[in-house]
């Protein structure tokens, strides 16, 4: 099995670390993984994206132009990546601040209002875990237990007490996500 994912949003939204957690989760379940960020000169702001591939086989190209799954967290990202989801693939978006919405009919489209939820519930720090939860609900590519193991690996020790919060966030995301088409 190979899953090719793009995650894209504003610089501050934790896009890269969401990708990292996914990659670590893959690592935990013995898969081949690749995590390929867009990198730029901006210290802050701007749009960032990351390509994550989890596979049971050696990964050839870390760079792709079509994805099984796209997670888009702002308008420019939607515009850039909607067309790049493979037919039959999955698009997950957080609609916060959107004025144009996905239109494709040949892919599965899900909406998750994690940003709004996070601001309303004082959970900005785990926002990316909420979204990840949404993803795992609709594309169960990694076991939650492996996600938590991965988190443990990628977080500095002093943050390990937050693991519980993160697990909760995943469950919230699983609830929050809605199919649109």
């Amino acid at each position: 099995m190979t899953e090719e994912i793009i995650i894209s949003g504003f610089g501050g939204q934790g896009v890269l670390s969401m990708g990292k957690i996914l990659a670590y989760s893959g690592l935990m379940q013995g898969q081949e993984v690749s995590w390929m960020p867009s990198y730029g000169p901006e210290q802050r702001g701007g749009t960032a994206n990351v390509t994550v591939i989890l596979s049971d086989e050696r990964i050839s190209s870390p760079v792709l132009n079509h994805y099984d799954t796209a997670i888009v967290l702002n308008q420019p990202s939607l515009e850039k990546f909607e067309s790049k989801v493979k037919p039959g693939g999955t698009l997950i978006y957080d609609g916060n601040g959107f004025h144009k919405f996905p239109t494709r009919k040949d892919i599965n489209i899900y909406r998750i209002d994690a940003i709004e939820y996070a601001y309303a519930n004082n959970a900005v720090k785990t926002m990316n875990m909420i979204i990840l939860g949404g993803l795992l609900k609709v594309r169960p590519i990694v076991e939650i237990e492996n996600v938590l193991k991965g988190l443990k690996k990628s977080l500095p020790e002093r943050h390990h007490h937050l693991l519980g919060k993160n697990e909760e966030a995943i469950r919230i995301g699983m609830d929050l996500i809605k199919k649109e088409n």
């Binding site: 081949e32 690749s34 390929m36 990198y39 050839s60």
Partner: protein, 367 residues
Amino acid sequence: MSNSQKQHKEEVRLMKGNEAIAHAAIRCGCDGYFGYPITPQSEILETLVELEPWKTTGMVVLQAESETASINMVYGAAGCGKKAMTSSSSPGVSLMQEGISYMVGAELPGVIVNVMRGGPGLGTIQPSQADYFQTVKGGGHGDYKMITLAPASVQEMADFTVLAFDLAFKYRNPTMVLADGIIGQMMEKVVLPPFQPRWTEEEIRKNTPWATLGKQKNSKPNVITSLELRSEEMEKINLRLQSRYREMEKNEVRYEEIMCEDAEYIIVAFGTTARVSQKAVELARAEGIKAGLLRPITLFPYPSEILMSYTSRIKGILTVEMSAGQMVEDVKLSVCGKVPVEFYGRMGGIVPSPNEVLDALKEKLIK
């Protein structure tokens, strides 16, 4: 399974290519790193200072005032028989050309990492492979060559750092690790090489008897120099260097063949474009096209012979690079007109996609 994986059981880690270089350097007993920040490779220095190897192995890590200073620090350290390295990206490596030529002239080992970005000039910070010529033909003045290793994965970033030091000392010549922004910035699984202690002074005296560690009693002073005003003598030095390059050509050619046995079309690509091209080969095979990939691992010495050996049975070669076409000249020189050699490239920091490569293969060779 890579060499380092065989030698020891160590956990699999996830890290960036740049980070892998830093870890591998510390582990292989590197004595000194001297570098200057530039995107997309600053993580090498940043990881090193984070790891503080001076507190463990004693490795010196210094942020220099410029790339010019960096390479000359490597020269000084290497002159003492120390394992020294620097890293930079394209514009910074251009500034090192005099220093690299000096290292070759003074027969000094050392490792230079170039995580290439798009040029010319300031260009872009996105990935590129357009410093191929600079690296393998000679960006500095005078006749010289460097063994050039082109990693295509994070694992190879680690492994080739170690290998680069071995080869540098084997041939008393700088070795280049030629990566690009993608390989530097991406995370993959990696098993780090085992820890090797740094050479002791006794070992240095044994391994590099030419090193300037202080003149030993009853022996002549050691002198590190690239100067020789007597032309006859200078020519001898040149000839010695050249014969060393012939040795490298004999011993150090490295490449990877992927689905080449029955291939009718061969794609030649290194580094990131090799990864992309591998996927293109997979796509081609899925369509019934007998494609294969030759991935040169050493760009100098170049795997010319294996390429020549294909010519009797293949229909054509497509060279894929993130450049206007540089390595393609070596492909052409390798096959000497015997099969058509075509080129597909992207520039400006754009990474070609697997589909593009497949399309190029069809369009340019299969038609």
